[in-house]
Amino acid sequence: MDAIKFVNEKMLNIPSYPNFRSGDTIMVTYKIIEGSKERLQSFRGDVIQIKGKGGTKTFTVRKISNGVGVERIFPYSSQIITEIELLKRGKVRRSRLFYLRELVGKKARIKEKRTASSK
């Protein structure tokens, strides 16, 4: 296990993004390469799952786009991600929010977590 940790530390550029959790609303800005051109796109939604740990972890972001639920899985150390912005802390009771897939409209909202600093 230590050898794996060592390889990850040496070979992965583990970025330092804001510390987000399941239920948080984040905006992921990432590069899209079309042929030789490169442009930025952002994906804003709720984090519904964080899988793995360390440099190889991935997270799933879910959003509703034109009435259709869209989920995207990002590897945390992926080089195409340029920025992750933490927009809202969510108040949730579990770490994997797959129940949101069955809910629509107002029921699919996540309550915002009120902390002392945000008041």
């Binding site: 296990m1 050898a3 794996i4 060592f6 390889v7 990850n8 040496k10 070979m11 992965l12 550029n13 190889t56 590897p75 150390s77 992926s78 080089q79 195409i80």
Partner: protein, 207 residues
């Protein structure tokens, strides 16, 4: 073939120069010691026999123990002969490290014993498809092999007919794996793709 003996540590994923995610196996490889040098004069062919891994003296058979004593290496867990080991002039008891044999970008093969899966049916063992239907008169046949032969001619089941049985635990060689990275100080090798065996099992990497 130039090669070394190692142990599988586990898997991880890294990014290549284009930013693509590559699944990799980490192998703790060597340092191996030369336990025997075979030459054309004495054996009819050239080869190096390498040893890897520590082993208690009391757990070593006397015959092997004498073999290791001759090489002056101490008892080793695994011994493997590599025919026509090129490029290195090694004497009995010499140590071979990773960076002497492998470099980044080399194509190698990895040999190991696959994970034992126990008694398995034909769907898992031979990738049969089973019956894909649960209806149309099927009753507990979803993973059945189907017919295993004809009728009164040939009146027997041919040898080698693929059936259920012990699965896994076979020696398997994975060819054409690319070396992603070599860590000579830590004796680690990072290889693209999967390598047979469980964590901690012996792996033979050959160039």
């Amino acid at each position: 073939m130039n090669g070394l003996i190692g142990r599988k540590v586990g898997m991880t994923s890294v990014y290549d120069s284009k930013g693509k995610n590559v699944a990799c196996t980490v192998i703790e490889i060597g340092p191996c010691v030369v336990t025997q040098v075979k030459t054309v004069e004495t054996d009819g062919y050239t080869a190096l026999q390498l040893g890897f891994g520590e082993r208690k003296e009391k757990n070593t058979p006397q015959a092997l123990s004498g073999h290791f004593k001759k090489a002056g290496t101490g008892a080793k867990r695994m011994v493997k002969e590599f025919k026509d080991f090129k490029g290195l002039q090694k004497q009995l008891g010499d140590v071979i490290r990773v960076d002497e044999v492998f470099a980044e970008g080399d194509k190698v093969s990895a040999t190991g014993v696959t994970k034992g899966k126990g008694f398995q049916g034909v769907v898992k063992r031979h990738s049969f498809r089973g019956v894909n239907d649960a209806t149309h008169g099927q009753h507990n046949r979803q993973r059945a092999p189907g017919s295993i032969g004809a009728c009164s001619f040939p009146a027997k089941v041919f040898k080698g007919m693929r059936m259920a049985g012990r699965t896994g635990g076979d020696q398997v060689k994975m060819p054409n794996l690319k070396i992603v990275k070599v860590f000579p100080d830590e004796n680690l090798l990072v290889i693209k793709g999967a390598v047979p065996g469980h964590k901690g099992s012996f792996v033979i990497v050959e160039k």
